[in-house]
C-alpha cells in the first residue's frame, strides 16, 4: 500500500517540532553539564546572544524593514515581524514605562515549551532564556543596548509568558582613529 497523505501541511509542523525538541534536548544537556540552574540560564543567554548577532543579518535581509525612529517602533518590529517570522507567533506589546524606554512582550503561546514540563528540582531554571539572549544580541548589532529578562512564564504557573525589555543606551560606533 502506498503512503500518501496530507504531508505538505505536516512538513511545516514537523520542522518546528524538530526545533522545539532539539531545544529541549539542549536544555536537558545543559542541566547535566552544569551544577545549578543559574549557570544554565547564563549559558542559554550566551548561546542566544551568539545566535542573535548572526540572526539580525538574516532578519534585515529577509524583512527589508528600514531604520526604526524610536523604541516604540522597534518594539513593534520585534513583535509583529521578527517573532512572526521566526517563531510563528505575534506577542503583544504592553506595559510601557512612562519614559517609553521599557515595555513587555506578552506571549500567549511559546513554541519552545510545547512539550515541556519542569521537574520540581529546577524551580529557578528559566527554560526559554535563549530568547533573551537572541534579542539582546540582535539589537546590539543595530546599536542598541537593551536589558531583556523573563518576568512571567507559563511553565512556572503564570497565566502568560512575559518578556521585559529595557532600553539602556545607544551604542556609538567607535571608528578607529583616522578611519573616515
Amino acid at each position: 500500500m502506498s503512503r500518501q497523505s496530507n504531508r505538505t501541511t505536516d512538513n511545516k509542523k514537523m520542522n518546528s517540532e524538530l526545533f522545539t525538541l532539539t531545544y529541549g534536548a539542549l536544555v536537558t544537556q545543559l542541566c547535566k553539564d552544569y551544577e545549578n540552574d543559574e549557570e544554565v540560564n547564563k549559558q542559554l543567554d550566551k548561546m542566544g546572544y551568539n545566535i542573535g548577532v548572526r540572526l539580525i543579518e538574516d532578519f534585515l535581509a529577509r524583512s527589508s524593514v528600514g531604520r526604526c525612529h524610536d523604541f516604540r517602533e522597534t518594539a513593534d518590529v520585534i513583535a509583529k515581524v521578527a517573532f512572526k517570522m521566526y517563531l510563528g507567533i505575534t506577542p503583544s506589546v504592553t506595559n510601557w514605562s512612562p519614559a517609553g524606554d521599557e515595555f513587555s512582550l506578552i506571549l500567549e503561546s511559546n513554541p519552545l515549551v510545547d512539550f515541556v514540563e519542569l521537574p520540581d528540582n529546577h524551580n529557578t531554571l528559566i527554560y526559554s532564556n535563549l530568547l533573551c539572549g537572541v534579542l539582546r544580541g540582535a539589537l546590539e548589532m543595530v546599536q542598541m543596548a537593551v536589558d531583556v529578562r523573563f518576568v512571567q512564564d507559563t511553565l512556572r504557573g503564570d497565566n502568560v509568558t512575559e518578556i521585559r525589555m529595557k532600553f539602556i543606551k545607544r551604542i556609538e560606533e567607535n571608528l578607529p582613529a583616522g578611519d573616515e
Binding site: 514537523m14 520542522n15 526545533f19 532539539t22 545566535i51
Partner: protein
C-alpha cells in the same frame, strides 16, 4: 530557505560548539572527540524517537525494511530538512547508504580541508536522529556519516538483525 530553518541551523551550531568546548575542559583530547560525538548522537536519538512517533501516527504499517528506509528518505527528510535524500542504495542485506547532495547543516560551514576533517561533529546529531527514528519503528541500527565533498554527505545505516 525558510526563516525557521535558519533558527534551527544556528541553534544546532551553538549546540555543537557548546558540547565541544564543554568537553574540552574536562577530558583529555583523544577521549574528548569520542564523547562529544556520542553526546550529540544521544541527543539526536531521543529527538528522532519523538519526531517519528508524532510523524507516523496516522501512517499504515510498513511492509518491510526497505519501505521504512524509503519513508525516512522521502517523508521524514522532507519534514525536517525540506528536501529528500538524493540517492538511496542498499545491498539488500541490511546496509543502506543515504546520500544528500546538499545537506542543510553543512551549507553554512566553509569547505577548507581542515573543516572536512571536523565535519563529523556537524553530522553526529543527525546520525542520532536517524537511529532514533528507526529505533521507534522497530529497527535497531548503527548509523555513521562521512563527507567527501562539501556540502554533500553520506549516511550509512546498518540494520542490526535481532
Amino acid at each position: 530557505m525558510a526563516a525557521d530553518d535558519i533558527l534551527f541551523e544556528f541553534l544546532h551550531m551553538e549546540m555543537v560548539s557548546h558540547i565541544y568546548t564543554e568537553q574540552a575542559t574536562r577530558e583529555d583530547l583523544e577521549k574528548e572527540r569520542v564523547t562529544c560525538v556520542s553526546v550529540l548522537e544521544g541527543m539526536g536519538f531521543r529527538v528522532g524517537q519523538g519526531l517519528i512517533e508524532r510523524f507516523t501516527k496516522d501512517c499504515p504499517t510498513f511492509k518491510d525494511d526497505l519501505d521504512v528506509m524509503k519513508f525516512l528518505c522521502k517523508d521524514f527528510w522532507n519534514g525536517i530538512f525540506r528536501k529528500q535524500i538524493d540517492n538511496l542504495r542498499t545491498n539488500h542485506q541490511g546496509t543502506y547508504v543515504l546520500q544528500d547532495n546538499k545537506f542543510a547543516l553543512l551549507t553554512q560551514v566553509s569547505c577548507r580541508k581542515q573543516q572536512l576533517e571536523e565535519s563529523s561533529k556537524y553530522l553526529a546529531y543527525t546520525c542520532g536522529l536517524i537511529r532514533g527514528a528507526l529505533s521507534n519503528l522497530g529497527l535497531e541500527s548503527v548509523v555513521t556519516a562521512e563527507v567527501s565533498l562539501m556540502p554533500s554527505c553520506k549516511f550509512q545505516v546498518v540494520i542490526q538483525k535481532p
